[in-house]
Symmetry: C2
Subunit: 283 residues, 2 copies
Amino acid sequence: MPSRGSNRLSGQSNDQGEGTPVAAAPKRRRVGKVEIATDLRNQIVRGDLGEGDQLPTEAALIDRYGTSRNTVREGLAILVGEGLVVAKRPHGYFVRDGHRMEYRPQSDLTVRPDDVPKDVFLTELADAGRTPTQTIDVAIVRPPADVAARLGLSDDEHAVVRRRVRFLEGAPYMTNDSYFPLTLAQGTAIMSPEDIARGANRVLADAGHVQVRAVDEFTIRMPTPDEQHRLALGPGTPVARQFTTGYDRHGKALRVAITILPGDRHTIVIDRPGLPDPEAEPS
Amino acid sequence: MPSRGSNRLSGQSNDQGEGTPVAAAPKRRRVGKVEIATDLRNQIVRGDLGEGDQLPTEAALIDRYGTSRNTVREGLAILVGEGLVVAKRPHGYFVRDGHRMEYRPQSDLTVRPDDVPKDVFLTELADAGRTPTQTIDVAIVRPPADVAARLGLSDDEHAVVRRRVRFLEGAPYMTNDSYFPLTLAQGTAIMSPEDIARGANRVLADAGHVQVRAVDEFTIRMPTPDEQHRLALGPGTPVARQFTTGYDRHGKALRVAITILPGDRHTIVIDRPGLPDPEAEPS
DNA sequence: CAGTGGTCTAGACCACACC
DNA sequence: GTGTGGTCTAGACCACTGG
């Protein structure tokens, strides 16, 4: 394949791509996994292979590149690791779908007026013709250390956790584990493994604990085996772990939520109206 | 109430691991890549192997598990793909470092008073004893389709892009490519590949284009080969691609910035003070 | 039953950093 | 040199799904 093209407009970080040394002289490079991956990747980004299209089978690639099966598989593994391609067991390799839904964290966390007990997930999506569902289970636990620290709980204090898995069209969409200090949640609707139409924050607010501020911490990483399982994640699918801490007006933490968002299903949108100016650009 | 709450069938946490069926009977499972990965992963999460520690060499693992070298390598590849482990070429496999720096988009995005042209990246970090540096290059380009769409540019219109790579202690930290409509940036300091102490937004504001709102879109995915190269990313390192669009008071897009944040180096922190206090004023 | 990818073995040669 | 991981070959058997 001569189409080593790349050639970016105007001097830029070109040259990448190869993955292996530059090789100033076009020395008859043996075809290896990198070449196979690069070749197939180019076909995908160029659009020769569109989303959902099937790649050639391993056997066909062995044929085309004249390498051993392992080398072909390693080349494919590169693309799988990049999240570009997925192997569907006895059918073949396919180009992955790039479609993502919008996820707006603030919608979930803003306390709403009593007369608008809207559940963004369940109602808005249903309105849009989707079929959202969710499972909820509730437990009293010793919270993980990072949760305990943010809730200001000591080692022997307990928390209530509401674990939710949300699905769209039957496919896992995100998980959300919300922790509340047991002292706050005790005896409220939070303890019940049912949907809380008005929202858990409303429940707390009615009890005098009004959340007025929230801090989100997003960590980007590969999923744990646990998360891969709960969310049915394919290989090469990273997640965002959103750690939300809600505070009342005195700075006391009322709630910590851990949301796991599969990278292949979401775009996280944060609208910042009124904020004069993005990027004061340093430098 | 067991702190372990999950009665759920598989799906749940718990020492998954097998990767294969339940195996009600402790049938002498052959040791495969999954078992090797699980075993080593457990040692890491339990702390038997701490950050920076070296794992046994491949040869030692072949010995320990009695499998072929390829199987051992596949087991290790699982951990590498999870971002838990990194192979340092002729030295061995090591447990990766979990430290992440805070990244606060809003700090970068708020317009500051003219007399405080503080560069968050260059000054704050320097104050903290770190040594931040950056490279800048400027080009006039046809913006990518998604950028052009947000800037409201037609196919034949051009944009100015300021491409920055920021380093900390010499290691790449993030990239930031900011696009401006050529008509706005023409003849301003934005065209110069120098640091703009007061910030590009200030430059635009001084020209009458005041940015009053910004929208961030975060996409979580595996890096392209290009990004792997620019940011010196190890395998198993996902990135967040932050797409920031800044608008003036008329809703006209002034700027689009694409920031690539390596997942292993950042925690993205978003502080949301002043959430509506329902007691105070609904809606 | 045929064809796909998934797993594993056994062996070989290479590049590279360190002693 | 020695030992590390990186790459590649050649062949084998398995599990699953669809025709």
